[in-house]
Amino acid sequence: MWNKSLLVMGTVAATFACTALKAEPTTYPLAIENCGQTVSFDRAPQNAVALGQNSAEILLLLGLEDRMAATAFWPNKVLPELEEANSKVEVLTVEFPTLEAVLSKQPDFVAAMLVTLLGPDSKVAKREDFEALGIPAYLSPSACSTAKNTTDAYGSRDDLWTMDLLYKEIDDLSRIFDVADRGAALIADFKAREAALRAQFASNDDLTFLFWFSSPSPADDAYLGGGNGPSGYIADVLGGSNAVKTDAEWPTLGWEGIMAADPKVIVVAQVDRNRWDLDKAENKIAFLTSDPTVSQMEAVRAGRIVVMSGASMNPSIHTLHGAEQVGEQLKALDLLQ
C-alpha cells in the first residue's frame, strides 16, 4: 500500500519534472568536466560499453539499452525493474574484463564505475587507451572522490555520504547521450522518493541502526556498514543514525562491541554471492535469534530485525532502494509514533 502511494508520488514527481524541467537538447560538440579532465563528444554515443554495475544501471534507467554494446563487472544482481532491459545487453563478464574484450565491441563511449576499471593505475584500461582511439571515456564522480586527494572538488568522506555525486553522474551521462530530460526526470524521481521517506520518518534521536553486511563465521568479527557511508545515509533518511560511529566505511566489530553499541534496529543484509553462510539474510537471523548471548540484545528480543539488499550498502543507485526497503519494514515495528 505504502509502496504504491510512493510509486504514485514518484510518477507524479517525474511527470512534473518532465514538464517543468524540460531540459535543453545537447548541442555537440559537448565538453564534460570529468574527474579533472575535459572529455569531448562529437555526437551522442550509439555503441557504449559500461564498465561496472552502477554505470550500467544508470544507463539502463535512462532507457539507453539500445545504445549499449556491452557491460561488465556486476558484483550484485541487477535491479529487478531493469532485468528486462538488461537482458538485451551483452554481459562480457561479471568480473574485471580485459581491455581487448571491451575494444572488440567497437565502443564509441566507455563509462566506468571504479578507478580499478578506468584509471592511471588500472590493470583493465587507462583513459589514454581510449583517447588514442578517439573513444571518449567517463569515470564515475563517486570514484574520483575516493581517489588520492580527498580534499578535491568532490568533498571529503569525512562527511555523510549523499546522493549528490550520483545525481551529477546521472546528469552528465544524460547530457552525453542527449537525453537530458530523462536524466532530470530520474534525478527528480530519486529526490522525490528521498523526500517522501524523510517526510514519513521524523528525526528520532533514539533510533539507531546496525547494518550487518556479512561475517565469515558467527565467531568472527562482523563486517558492518560504517558511520559516514551509504549505511549512515540510509539511517539518516529514516530519521535515525548509525549505531557504529567509526569513520571507516566497512568497519569490523566483534559481538561484544555490537552489544555495547546496542542498536535499536538490526538491519541484516541479503548478500547475493555465495562466499559465506552468513551472506544470506535468513542465516543471519537464525544466528541472531539462536546464539545464547546475542539473542539477549534488546533489538533481537523485541524482534526488530529487518532485511535489506546488501547492494544498498555500496554507494550506488541501490542505496535509496535499501532505504525504502528498510523504511517499509520499519513501519511494521513498534518504534514509530
Binding site: A72, L92, T93, E95, F96, P97, T98, L99, E100, A101, L103, S104, Q106, L114, V115, T116, P120, D121, S122, K123, V124, K126, D129, A132, L133, G134, A143, T146, A147, K148, N149, T150, R157, D158, G226, N228, G229, D247, A248, E249, W250, T252
Partner: protein, 345 residues
Amino acid sequence: MTTAETERGTFGLALLLTFGLVALAFAIAVATAIGDYSIGLGTVFLAVTNGLGLTGAEISPIEQSVVWNLRLSRALVAALAGAGLSICGAILQALLRNALAEPFVLGVSAGASTGAVSVIVLGVGAGGLSLSLGAFAGAFSAFALVALLSNGATSGPNHTILAGVAASQLFNALTSYIVTTSGNAQQARDVMFWLLGSFGGVRWPDFQLLLVVVVVSLAICIWMARALDAFTFGDEDAAALGIPVARIRLVMFAVTAVLTATIVSMVGAIGFVGLVVPHAARYVIGPLHLRLLPACAVVGAVFMVSADIASRVIVAQQTVPIGVVTALVGVPFFAIILYRARPQP
C-alpha cells in the same frame, strides 16, 4: 673441473639458449596473435610491421592498437619480468645458500604493498606520486631495512633471511593496519586488486624501463658470476679465494632489490617463477653462474610468456591472476624435475 666438462657445459648452454630463444620468439608470436578480440593472422602481421614502421598498411586503428599497444608490449614485458625474477632467484639462492630463497625473500613485495597503500589510501605525495613509484619506494625501504638489520648484509645468510622475514611481517602489518583503519573501503580494495600480479596494465613505456633495468642487472650479475660461484662454498672459503665478500654481497642484494622492486611496482608480486626456474635451469645446465644466469633469463622469459598466454585464454573475456597460472603450470613441471633429480638408491 676438466676441460671436457667445461666444453660440454658450454655446448649445453649454447643448445639451451638457441632452443630457448626460438621457443621465446614462438611464444611471443603466439601471445601477439591470440586474444579476446579475434584478429586475422594477416592483420596481426601487418599491425606488427606497421608498428615497426616497415609497412603502412591500412588496418582498423582499434585492431592496430590491440596488437601493437596491448598484446606485443604485454608479451615483451612478461618476457622481461620472467627473466628478471628468475635471475633474482638464482642470485639469492647462491648468496643465501638456501634452496628456498626467491625474489621476495628480502621483504620486497611486502614493502611494495605498504608503499602502494600509503600512496592511494593515505595520499602520501599528494596525488603527484603514482602507485608504481610508491610501490617502488616501499619495496626499496624494505630492502634498506633488511640491509640495516643484517649489519649492511655483511653477517651470514641466515641472519639476512631472518631480517627478511622480520621486514615482511612488519610491512604486512603496516599494510593491514592502514587498510583496516582507512575510511574508505573502495581504496583498500583498489590496492588489493592492484597488488595481485597482472600484466593487464603494462604499455610500451614500461617495456622500455624494464628492458634497461633487466639488461643492466644481468650484465652486472654476469660480471660477478665467478664471485657468485665462490659464495656457494661459504663466506669464509669465498674470502679465502680473495673475493671481497661483504661488498659483493651488498652489490648483489642491491641489484636484486632494484630489479624485483621494478617488476613488483609494474606488474605486482608474481610468485613461483623466481623460485623454480633457477632450480630447473641448474638441473639442466649445472651450477656455474656464468651459464646459469643466461639460462635462467631465457627459461624464465619463455615460462612467463607462456603462463600469461594461459592466463588470458583459460577464461574468455577476463584474466585469471598470473600467479595462479605460474603455480598451476609450474608445479607439475617442477614435480617432474624433482622426481628425476631424486638421489639414486
